[in-house]
Symmetry: D2
Subunit: 459 residues, 4 copies
Amino acid sequence: MKYTSHGIENLKIAYIGGGSRGWAWKLMSDLAVAGDVSGQVDLYDINYEAAHHNEIIGNKFNDAAGATTKWTYHARRTIGEALTGADFVIISILPATFDEMESDVHTPEKYGIYQPVGDTTGPGGIIRALRTIPMIEVIAKAIEKYCPNAWVINYTNPMALCIKSLYDTFPGIKAFGCCHEVFAVQELIAKAVKEATGAEITERKAVKTNVLGVNHFTWITDARYHNLDVNKIYHDFVEKYCESGVPKDNPDSVFECAHRVKFDLYKRYGVIAAAGDRHLSEFCEGSWYLKNDQQISEWDFVRTPVSWRKEDLNERIARSERLCSGEEEVTIQNTGEDGVRQIRALLGLGDYTTNVNLPNMGQIPNLPLGIVVETNAAFRDNSVDPIFAGAVPEGVWQLVSRAADAQAMVATAARERDLDLAFKAFANDPLVNLDLPTARKLFDEMVENTKEYLIEYFK
Amino acid sequence: MKYTSHGIENLKIAYIGGGSRGWAWKLMSDLAVAGDVSGQVDLYDINYEAAHHNEIIGNKFNDAAGATTKWTYHARRTIGEALTGADFVIISILPATFDEMESDVHTPEKYGIYQPVGDTTGPGGIIRALRTIPMIEVIAKAIEKYCPNAWVINYTNPMALCIKSLYDTFPGIKAFGCCHEVFAVQELIAKAVKEATGAEITERKAVKTNVLGVNHFTWITDARYHNLDVNKIYHDFVEKYCESGVPKDNPDSVFECAHRVKFDLYKRYGVIAAAGDRHLSEFCEGSWYLKNDQQISEWDFVRTPVSWRKEDLNERIARSERLCSGEEEVTIQNTGEDGVRQIRALLGLGDYTTNVNLPNMGQIPNLPLGIVVETNAAFRDNSVDPIFAGAVPEGVWQLVSRAADAQAMVATAARERDLDLAFKAFANDPLVNLDLPTARKLFDEMVENTKEYLIEYFK
Amino acid sequence: MKYTSHGIENLKIAYIGGGSRGWAWKLMSDLAVAGDVSGQVDLYDINYEAAHHNEIIGNKFNDAAGATTKWTYHARRTIGEALTGADFVIISILPATFDEMESDVHTPEKYGIYQPVGDTTGPGGIIRALRTIPMIEVIAKAIEKYCPNAWVINYTNPMALCIKSLYDTFPGIKAFGCCHEVFAVQELIAKAVKEATGAEITERKAVKTNVLGVNHFTWITDARYHNLDVNKIYHDFVEKYCESGVPKDNPDSVFECAHRVKFDLYKRYGVIAAAGDRHLSEFCEGSWYLKNDQQISEWDFVRTPVSWRKEDLNERIARSERLCSGEEEVTIQNTGEDGVRQIRALLGLGDYTTNVNLPNMGQIPNLPLGIVVETNAAFRDNSVDPIFAGAVPEGVWQLVSRAADAQAMVATAARERDLDLAFKAFANDPLVNLDLPTARKLFDEMVENTKEYLIEYFK
Amino acid sequence: MKYTSHGIENLKIAYIGGGSRGWAWKLMSDLAVAGDVSGQVDLYDINYEAAHHNEIIGNKFNDAAGATTKWTYHARRTIGEALTGADFVIISILPATFDEMESDVHTPEKYGIYQPVGDTTGPGGIIRALRTIPMIEVIAKAIEKYCPNAWVINYTNPMALCIKSLYDTFPGIKAFGCCHEVFAVQELIAKAVKEATGAEITERKAVKTNVLGVNHFTWITDARYHNLDVNKIYHDFVEKYCESGVPKDNPDSVFECAHRVKFDLYKRYGVIAAAGDRHLSEFCEGSWYLKNDQQISEWDFVRTPVSWRKEDLNERIARSERLCSGEEEVTIQNTGEDGVRQIRALLGLGDYTTNVNLPNMGQIPNLPLGIVVETNAAFRDNSVDPIFAGAVPEGVWQLVSRAADAQAMVATAARERDLDLAFKAFANDPLVNLDLPTARKLFDEMVENTKEYLIEYFK
């Protein structure tokens, strides 16, 4: 890259999982209006054709209405080509296919275990981690080899374990992980403030929050807006909506929730849980919110079926073809994503603070060092420094420390390709409330279902 | 007290709860053969008559067969009299009566919650703590006033919370807590070693162990005997007995267990749980071992009914009368208790190492500072220093940190007489797997049942 | 205060030490161009007349050329009046008079101890702390009483000990301390970058730095500007100028230095010391840079004589009179101060990151918790959160930990009015390289000289 | 080794530095009366002849008057032979010769730096560490290869750095370091107690002490004997003898001191320094006690000249020849050494508590983890666990943390064969109060003098 009087030229971004038909397009849109930063994006994907389609689509963005900045897209056949010379690396991969995810999410149902997402924790999250971490290790080694000074932004789940694996594999890596679950809760708080005071809050960033926890199980211990007592406002908001739930924008969504789980957790602990209810429920005792579909429905959230993901993928593939062929035009949207803002701050184009996933160096003093945690961090010209977040509050600490410990166990199990240790974590999971032999039966079945991607564990 | 060439004379021990018809008699027996340490024991009890009976019984020990050392016993009408001039204070009280304990243990059964003991954790342990801590505060303040330099040995449950309250109330106190649950597991390990090797191990102390955790939920992370691989021996012992259980000495006992819970925990975590199964089960998810009486019976341990305790008390009262009247003679036994050995070490009569309960100063680096933990400690002439025990192992840490956090919450709730905070801990307990309104209903009922002893919470 | 659609109105700032003839005028200038924030400033000073003069001068700023914002100034006769209703409190006092400072700085010369500043550490800093901390305690208690939710910005030296005393006295205080010593070093680094690359760096803030240490003995462990290797650039800069020094702007200044001490420390430790050489030298062995005036002159910095301060004060008093009378007009300058930027960020008008003094919560993991340290912090709407700064590097840690320990000792000595403990810290100071009886003689003499302000130590 | 009903047979001890003409003979004497532990000692030394002489001498001990236990001694030509099958390893080597030590101790005199010992810290200690650590690495690797489960007892100086290197090289090592400097101070305290009270204290172990610090710079924060106020007794003892010093047993000794340095440190910090004054003085500012020989003489201790060591060695060589030839008979003495007591405790033959050097795991919470510290530890059947020692007291912490930091720097410098980093530590040493170029000159000269043993630093 090159700093000029007009901004930055020749920036190189490598995109691992560059065949993505979702987040990649948002990035293209954001880059097209980046203004004073231009360069190239190298797309690498084990599905080369998908990357190639994105090369075509990405280059079309240069001519989209409103585009201000030129970016060149290249699909690359090797990860080495993509990474060489990269200033930034984006990792956004689907580990294996939705068939494996189907096993992760739905096999446990036979044992009375229901997972709304199944990609982070719980039996599904653990099995997913076992197959993902060896892939992340390959990527981390390639980064060490081809672009050790690049900034690495991960979007892949299980987020915390991917970041942990990146640092475990290449300790000198400059990596962090981004997730927008917290953003939606900041919007919910903004909504509560607007409802209580009529304040005109135009963007969630106007409400300042202190965030802490582990990815998808984050908590807001302080929220501030001007001289209002936001914590009191949220308390009243919970009282108002804890029974009815907050009306959903789209009642048919397979993602949205009415926030009743979040409000129940607030009543239990007095702290704002900061993720969607689908994720939050997976970190609690299974009997609390996930006993069966009736209970889930009473708490007014949904399990996202993998069949939906498969259909949705087909639609996105079809759209990809339309975009390539020109049957549909690429358009610049307001994505609400943080990625390009973070890149700009790392380039020295304006300080920025947001919540990210990083190894714990003490930003959360009552969680183990080295565990990947989520807190605010200061992005300031080639540096991301965590902001001291304080201790996880009593009560909540019990749940978060459990998740932190599980993270450590699964990370070790995957790094050492040790299925017996992985099973220890599995049997310990709050959703796996089974006796040991039954838990092992489920574990073995899930491993068997996805063994094509677990061959390294059987060497 | 006075050091002489023959030993120590005029030692003064104050016994709070000195009407005890159990542990007090063991102490009398041990003191009668203490050899070079003699003095007086002042008995204080809210039931003065019981203390007075023990004065009579205690003084009879001077004439028991085998007695080597004279001790004078006095019942005292005020705690101040008992404590003034004391070198040691023993605290061994029953907080309230067995009627309150009956509520603690059995009320939750209506909600499907079964507690084998109910005095440490779980709903029963929490309610018991709420009424005990204000009593302990009174004792701590009296110690600060009357004998601030005395060593204080607590036997009252909930152990950890009593010790925490002693330190919270009088930070300069020299207190620790003793419990023999670990001893029985050391004997179990000795038994495993004998069975595997034929080794002649005459006492549990010959097997050296590293102990860590919180009271009644302690773990042995290392066991050693000569150059044997004791950890491997125990592993094989678990394999042999995990299904059948270890045959009990007395199948009708309301305390004994077949160690199947302990072995299941070993299989889950690879670490030796070091307490009776009745206690261990109370710190785990209720569904693991305590779903119902059938499950408890399958795991081959028992719930101790409070009705049994009431009957047993009646028998002990009767025995007390027989001992007072001379109908039954006092006899010196080998009690196996540690108390007098600890007192001797504190007097400088021989270093001693054993497991005790103390505030965490870092002896367990991955538990919060200030929480009361159980580890080995070195007793050396007027000092009890914890021995570094290492971190709670992964997996186990999830369970122990949960208990540690609950301890902190209950301690604060009791100190601040805050029932709402107490309820937060209550609803979080692994045995209280209820939705919030139901949990509150149970909590309120248990408080109502025992409100006579909770009046300070309603001021 | 009141948030309106135009900004913030009716903000109230209380200025303790409001008779100041220096920093107060800068604040007036900055407030006059604050734009969307207006309100009142209440001036309190034990010298009421001085405060009253500043009321007159402050109100004149409303009519200065370029003024955009109205502020009303009031001198107040009691601290309570000044603090009541305050949103912000500024503490900027001179503890005692320059006569006491003359003793602090110059008495030790008789013993071969030379202090360039004498207000932070060393014998002068310690004695100054002893008389300042009781004053700060009075202010902290008044804040707790009159405006417990106000933000408190301290400028008084000894900075770290003042902040520590504020928190020790009123633990709930929202206080931090600001000092511009680091800024000058950021400018020095910017200069090095410009010299090496020709880069156009218009303000020091463009170079991002990681700051850590204790006030006036801060270190920059990382400096970044775009994709330049700033650390290498600084290394070369040191090589170039370590012998000659960097030419001073004003060779007659009693503050400026040629940075030779800073460069020597860089050669010793490989880390950028981030304060003026006058301050840095006071934290090192006296023999390194402060053996005598010849050595000081060789290192090309100066001792600021208190006689200069006295003359300068007279000039400022004269100027104050001219400004009051209108003989001289008030003018708006570009002050380069951070205060108003910080206030704006705390009001929610734009996030801001800068270095401040706060109790250590873990932002510097290898310094004791609770000690006041200086690092970057994120200012975000009613919150100042330290940014994780990392460990003090080896080598430097020896010096900084010594200063941190001294801080703790002096804080306790002052809080407990314990001159013997204060002397322990005094005798331990790197500048006080005297045998114990001689050190005590000096200490007693300095206490005697300033005893009018130390009466509480003799009660 | 083999446990039998009579004790332990066939124990194998490997002695690295087995040609020793001092400590080895004491060990032989202690082993000859070990009673129920017998076996063989394999002697390895780079001077094979010396080891062979000790084989002869050792075997003679079996026939000495009072010998109760048979031990077979073998000189071995390779370290592998000596270590294979070893249960214990003793490391007691002289790194290089007394010629190198002469340079370490006396070269700095030209620069006004006077070292009473020069083997631990200061310029001499640092240079000695640089040549010793590569030797220790070789030994550690051999232990890992030949007897990874053996217990390793080190006596070599610089103690802390040798232990650190053992753990750095082979993290699984079971090593600790023993030093008797603390013992002499325990005897001094016992003497004070006897003098004050007439108490009959027959051995230093009767006074219980809490020890903390780094080797040769240890501190006793608590001393106890029965119900006496030992801390007060010591305070009065200091007052009595601080001017005169305690009369020496042998005024011509090149080791003994009058404890005036120790008493001065007590007056400075209120804590008992627990090493000989020769060692203590080396950790303080050079100007305090080591300005010149006159000052040293006033403080009434001595510098041990290396010429004395050379003469003494000649005498010991001569004695070795007499013992071999039978001209002089081997005799069993009461050595006062701890080694065999520790070995017995590690074999399970009785718990034992003493002060040893181990990596900091938290036993001293305010020193960095991983640094080698000295505290009490519990020896209990195949385990050495540090006893929690508490924080280094304020004031003292400044000195000890400086030493701890230097230890870390020198360890890294030696491990990475980095003379520039070694020089950073060197220039930072409290005795090296020189400007940087002069310090470098001295450093280079000392390296040059001993370069035969530093060749790995020049590869």
